[in-house]
Symmetry: C2
Subunit: 142 residues, 2 copies
Amino acid sequence: MNLQQKKTSAPDTTVLEKLRASGLRPTRQRLALAKLLFGRGHCHVTAEGLFNEAKQTHVNVSLATVYNALHDFTAKGLLREISVDSSSSYFDTNTDDHHHFFFEGTGELQDIPPDSVRIAALPEAPGGSAISRVDVIIRVRD
Amino acid sequence: MNLQQKKTSAPDTTVLEKLRASGLRPTRQRLALAKLLFGRGHCHVTAEGLFNEAKQTHVNVSLATVYNALHDFTAKGLLREISVDSSSSYFDTNTDDHHHFFFEGTGELQDIPPDSVRIAALPEAPGGSAISRVDVIIRVRD
DNA sequence: CAAGTTGATTAGAATTTTTCTAAACTGCGA
DNA sequence: TCGCAGTTTAGAAAAATTCTAATCAACTTG
């Protein structure tokens, strides 16, 4: 047995625990997708993009399942959904409070550290309703 | 002749001029849609929503034409496109610099006057690229 | 520990949203 | 007025997303 293989299996346990902790059943499909999403540094994916990655890794899931998983993960707070572009929505593995650059040419997203944008004077939400999130997207030509 | 009818025809001229000034041909379809969009106070519409309004006003246009018109108007700076929701994009007749409340329950948008949000410390765009726009969306539960 | 029960999950099918492109139209010059 | 060139429309196609019936997985119960 090769040590290289052992190395890659270590984060799988973390991913499994992550699913268990969220209350989602760790099915074959979800585990495989979660491994792709969380088994590396933070990233921004689209459903189509993750679906293609899955295919390349010989993980057999339907596109509908990818959508289901992304939405389930988002509902459990494992991902954050971002709408910047009418073409498709992005899912961010970084769920901490932060903002984004959007490169209009390539359609790519990049995180902005939370303290490099400061919002002074937030308005009151109308009708006394609660603010659930503030999204700042800085669009950049490239 | 009724004075009431005269009243509603006055803004049509403005709408016609608006189209002419932008360089878009004032076709029957565009005029009808522009009248719906600009013949009243600022509003936020979806393609589907505008299409339904058109039908109710007995304006015969296809949904594809509504999309074409909305995108053409946006390209000429008559509208601003906003992505908040993966379900569909919104078009805002207010093209001045301003931000939005998004009511997650009803899916409605509301303008925030520009000076009630102040952004201190905007980060440098990476690679020296130019910032084309900064969008702030405050999501509200309702 | 096998079988049944219940609720969660998957993925093919359907729907919705958006774009593409051939046909129709418009304005212009001959 | 006629024909040409570019613009606009809208039916058809594509892309994105959701729906739902079939499948599966965890938990009883015998």
